[in-house]
């Protein structure tokens, strides 16, 4: 028999729950909380999940393990009063601009204060307004709304392993901020937006681009075309009262036409193209003893993460652009001609489950004829808001079909929406190429003990493919380090930053449990199941595209249009240490890179020895020495710039020799 506890005098069986809060949720009692998040460590700071335990008094249910026979009460008179007081304390300093807040409808503080019947805040505002961070292209940080629950801090650290933000200051001055109160744009933030997704209020929100899209739509001279990512179709219905996982592709198309989009395409089409390109890259690298594994590159958060913290990994990244950017490039290269308009009259919009796509589409390398390949990357939420703004009754719309040719997609292309999907699609393609008949679905066992890392081996003909599928960047970093050290060996590693892949993207409608995500993932799998075409290369328009434009996979033209390159990137902007005072004399400028990669390659000791040498040789008047954070040539570190020359793989002797030459000159 299962042990039981009593919640409000009703017996509830225990099934391994770690805390009373989880037991109560199972018993359909929604105990309020801001800082409890089942995927993160227990923090216990908001103090709202108070319950009374007979004989023990008032405790927080998030941090108290259930014990057999416990009698728990969740809404005694005292608890109601205490909860109200705590919420009142929060409201006193909360910027109550609710009607104009992006999270107005999904704000936990707003709904909780309504539920608790708070009619009046007896406390006064004690804090001065703080500046908003508007620097990031993907996210807006507004400390005036923050309740300091720390969900964002823990997500960024515990799941993504980045810790781009943390608590700063103490007591009433505490804020969540990036290092040195810089903008999110200037630090290691990868724009995954999960901080915004877990934020219970409007302290971190998605930077909306709907204004620009409306403007383009309302401009009669502009042709506005759109692509819709696979994960959008299984989630947007949630904003219109539909259950999670309801597939609404046709309704989206109808709604977007009603909004004024001229053509509506499917990003899954570009995903099919990605499969063909990436699978060929994989097979080529495998047969030609190239760099293995291939790390996927469809997730822009992961790509930025790799660029700034794992420069050694960059040669392993697939050179394929993400489906969004492949689509953008195709659109720019094909549509103006087909539609008979100049490039400047074409606006390309993408509808994405993702906030990092906003950053990706603005990367300078993704441009054609000087125009951004994708002008605007809207999130699912933003599209939902546009539909609402236009007063469209989304749920009642009759489905319509996408425009051709780029509205045609296989089940494999749709699978990109969830973790494991890219791998599965690539395997399906590879199986065909390698002449192996096999079921359409692969089985990824969760065999590693860390959740979020799955791996398997598949033998296709004489070739064995070793796959790993990872979501969460901390997991990705773990796999990357093991791969670089040779401890783990794979042929392909699929990485998605967000939980469950793109269906769990931060641009999706706000959810409060993992159940919604599971429903979305299931819907993606079902879409694939009922899809008549399951292999990307069987997409007739993909075949046509190669015949008419791209020649063959990985061809020169394909490389130009569909592939990209990566550069190592600073983790924190604009930092350098001047080790020199002023001097009237002209001096040789020496800059030692002490970025992460150079550091790992010995820059630390090099700099120490250099400093010693300068003092010994009494060069202070001749040499202007400084340390800089990242010359962005991490693969060749340690890097030292002497005058205009950059020395890679620097050693003390070589640097000293170079300085000597310059000093003499």
């Amino acid at each position: 028999m299962k042990p039981i506890i009593y919640i409000n005098n009703r017996p509830i069986p225990l099934e391994g729950e770690k805390n009373i809060l989880a037991v109560a949720r199972k018993a359909h009692i929604d105990i309020p909380t801001f800082c409890y998040h089942s995927e993160l460590s227990v923090y216990g700071a908001c103090r709202l999940c108070l319950v009374e335990i007979e004989g023990k008094g008032i405790v927080t249910s998030c941090s108290t393990p259930p014990r057999e026979g416990m009698r728990v009460f969740t809404h005694t008179k005292q608890i109601q009063r205490l909860r109200k007081n705590i919420v009142e304390m929060l409201l006193a300093n909360h910027d109550q601009a609710c009607p104009t807040c992006a999270r107005s409808e999904t704000c936990s503080l707003r709904s909780l204060s309504a539920k608790l019947g708070i009619e009046n805040v007896r406390y006064r505002k004690t804090k001065n307004p703080k500046e908003k961070d508007l620097g990031s292209i993907a996210l807006v940080r507004d400390p005036n709304k923050c309740v300091l629950c720390g969900d964002c801090v823990r997500y960024c650290d515990e799941i993504q392993g980045i810790a781009a933000i943390d608590f700063t200051n103490r007591g009433e001055d505490v804020v969540v901020s990036p290092a040195f109160n810089k903008s999110l744009a200037d630090v290691g933030c990868v724009n995954c937006g999960q901080c915004a997704a877990v934020c219970p209020v409007g302290a971190i929100t998605i930077r909306s681009q709907t204004g620009g899209v409306w403007e383009a739509i309302q401009d009669n001279d502009q042709k506005v075309i759109a692509q819709i990512a696979p994960a959008v179709r299984v989630a947007i219905g949630e904003m219109f009262g539909m259950p999670s996982g309801e597939v609404t592709t046709g309704k989206i198309v109808a709604a977007m036409r009603m909004l004024g989009f001229d053509l509506v395409f499917d990003t899954s089409f570009a995903a099919d193209l990605t499969v063909v390109e990436e699978a060929n890259e994989l097979l080529k690298r495998k047969s030609a003893a190239g760099k293995l594994p291939v790390f996927t590159s469809c997730c822009p958060a992961w790509v930025k993460f790799a660029e700034q913290s794992h420069p050694d990994l960059l040669p392993y990244l697939s050179s394929c652009r993400s489906p969004q950017q492949m689509f953008g490039s195709l659109a720019r290269n094909m549509l103006p001609q087909r539609m008979g308009i100049p490039q400047g009259k074409l606006t390309v919009v993408s509808i994405m489950p993702c906030t990092a796509k906003k950053y990706e589409c603005a990367r300078p390398e993704f441009r054609t004829d000087g125009f951004q390949d994708v002008d605007f990357a809207l999130t699912t939420q933003e599209l939902g808001n546009m539909i609402k703004e236009a007063g469209i009754d989304f749920a009642s719309l009759e489905p319509e079909s996408m425009d051709m040719p780029m509205g045609m997609a296989t089940g494999a292309g749709v699978l990109f929406g969830k973790t494991g999907g890219v791998s599965e699609a690539v395997v399906r393609y590879a199986a065909d190429v390698l002449g192996e008949e096999r079921p359409d679905s692969i089985d990824l066992d969760e065999i590693r003990d860390i959740k979020g890392i799955r791996e398997t081996e598949i033998t296709l003909g004489s070739t064995t493919l070793r796959l790993a599928v990872v979501h969460g960047l901390k997991n990705a970093a773990y796999v990357a380090e093991k791969v670089l050290s040779g401890e783990l060996q794979y042929d392909i590693v699929e990485v998605m930053a967000c939980p469950g892949g793109c269906i769990g993207g931060a641009g999706q409608p706000i959810v409060h449990s993992s159940e919604e995500r599971q429903a979305r993932a299931k819907a993606i799998a079902n879409t694939d199941k009922i899809s008549p075409l399951k292999k990307s290369h069987r997409n007739p328009f993909i075949q046509e595209l190669y015949d008419t434009l791209l020649d063959e996979p990985n061809s020169e033209v394909a490389h130009k249009m569909l592939h990209t390159h990566y550069t190592s990137r600073k983790r924190i902007a604009d930092e350098s240490i001047s080790l020199t005072g002023s001097s009237t004399q002209e001096r040789v400028k020496v800059r030692v890179c002490v970025g992460t990669s150079c550091y790992l390659r010995g820059a630390h000791d090099l700099l120490a020895n250099l400093l010693k040498t300068i003092e010994e040789k009494d060069w202070a008047q001749k040499v202007d020495l400084g340390a800089t954070f990242c010359t962005e040539r991490c693969d060749k570190g340690p890097s030292v710039a002497v005058g205009d020359d950059v020395l890679h793989f620097a050693t003390l002797d070589r640097v000293v020799a170079m300085i000597q030459d310059s000093v003499r000159a």
Partner: protein
Amino acid sequence: MCNLNEIALKYKTARTGCERRVIICAGTGCIANGSLKVHAALKRIASERGLDVTIELRGEEKHDVLLSQSGCQGFCQVGPLVTVEPEGFLYTHVKPEDAEEIVHTTLQNGKAVDRLLYKNPADHSPCKTTQDIPFYSRQTRNVLKECGHIDPESIDEYIAGGGYEAARKAWLELAPEDICTTYKEAGLRGKGGGGFSAGVKWDLSRKQASEDKYIICNGDEGDPGAFMDRSILEGNPHSVIEGMLIAARGSIANHGYVYVRMEYPLACKRIRKAIKDAESHGILGDNIFGSGHSFDIQVMEGAGAFVCGEGSAMIASIQGGRGMPRTKPPRSAEVGLFGKPTVINNVETLATVPQILRYGVEKFRSIGTEKSPGTKAFALTGHVVNTGLIEVPFGSTIREIVFDIGGGVIDENGNIDNTAFKAVQIGGPSGGCLTEEHLDVPLDFDSLSSIGAMVGSGGLVVMNKSTCMVRIASFFMKFTQHESCGKCVPCREGTRQMLELLEDITEGRADETTIPLLEDTAETVKITSLCGLGKSAPSPVLSTLRYFRDEYEAHVNGKYCPTRECSALVPITIDPKICVGCTLCKRSCPVGAISGTVKQPHVIDPGKCIKCGACIEICKFKAIS
């Protein structure tokens, strides 16, 4: 291997070779008053006068005078302190200029320098030794006993006094389980606040299966006004190390940390030296006392955060993070420093530990009360004749402390006046205010908590009738508010709001909703805060509201501060000697607070007055202020 007996014998032999010993207090307080200059002057002049002076004992050399420095003796107010043994003369307020006379009269002729002796404030009679000074004679100095008598930088002297024998016994003769049982039987309770049984704590950690376990000595004494931990670390650091060794044996720990406030540089220096000396004697490190076991100690200096005195915050700080407390369970004894079982005891507790093994459980339990055996140090300060660090048995009363040891209350003019007593604030920012009716309540963990106060850190501030209790509550609230880590909502937001409300009261902005809201907020913060700091933050407010509610009400309803400390609430009055009854003020008052008939002095009703100042401005005779 370390032979304690041999070291002790050697030291004692050397010591008997010195006729006299002069001990100069070199605690933070006396150093600030110039005691090191006194030390130098004594050394120079004694040598000039032909005395053989040494500052260090070496072998069997014979000397006339051993000139030592001690740690804090607790009576900083009258420092620099100089003690001459064997006579035991205690000189106060000693200046370098006094060296000449001390050398001549005492060191050469064995007589006391009368003018440097402590004078009993009541009758100005001179007190020759500490035994004649009520401040000392009424105390029971057990833990603080050696502070001021021994050279804190000499491990040999500590050993000669029986030191490290208890630790040796613990490591060589006793099983960890027996040690825990002994300390449970002794009933030693944590003196840093909560009063949790030390033996139970060790035992909990002992039972955890883990290769590494930690002992943390909590020396992050943050209570603004308490300094017993500083005094012990400065005056007798080896007693703390020995306590840690015994605690380590009891809980089977192999690593130790001493966490000291960075505001205590001398304490840091002395504990560091003591650790080094203990290591070189084989008392710390590998194979201690030849037992085959190892135990090491590291010192960590805090970086300025009161909240780090809370166990889990201290652990976070040692691990290199922000010192924010975490929720429990698990307890630190299960999952503590670096995830390992960890025992945290405070300095005073650890300094008490060796005494129980040294003198036995019975002896320990013979002092203090049944449930709070032993002694407790308090930092006595405020409006009292003698301020300083004192040690008394648990169960002593405030009356004994304030009037016997403290020598009575001083009034606002600095005169002794026991009728001026108003309250004591005990336990610092986490404690409460007690009144005359509590003068005979025994000071122990349970009695104090039953009246809304706590032993806490041991701060004991005496207040006379000139002290405004709302302002005292506000002072402590300002402190906790400033030191809140900011993690949990009630402590971060609630303390700030309480401070606002208190300031409303002291500045005359309060109305009838203020006190109820203050009480409601205090109650919420007390029940719902995450850690002990937050939970106890409202204590000063709640206890002053409980015992001095009329004072709060006078501020709010009468817009009047009974002590006149709140300048915003000093009432505007008309001087009846100057007022000619012209009625101008009465007519100018917008709220009708002034009454009086023509040609008769007028009166202002402080309850109605809004202090607009219109009357002051209009009065031609400057009768209103």
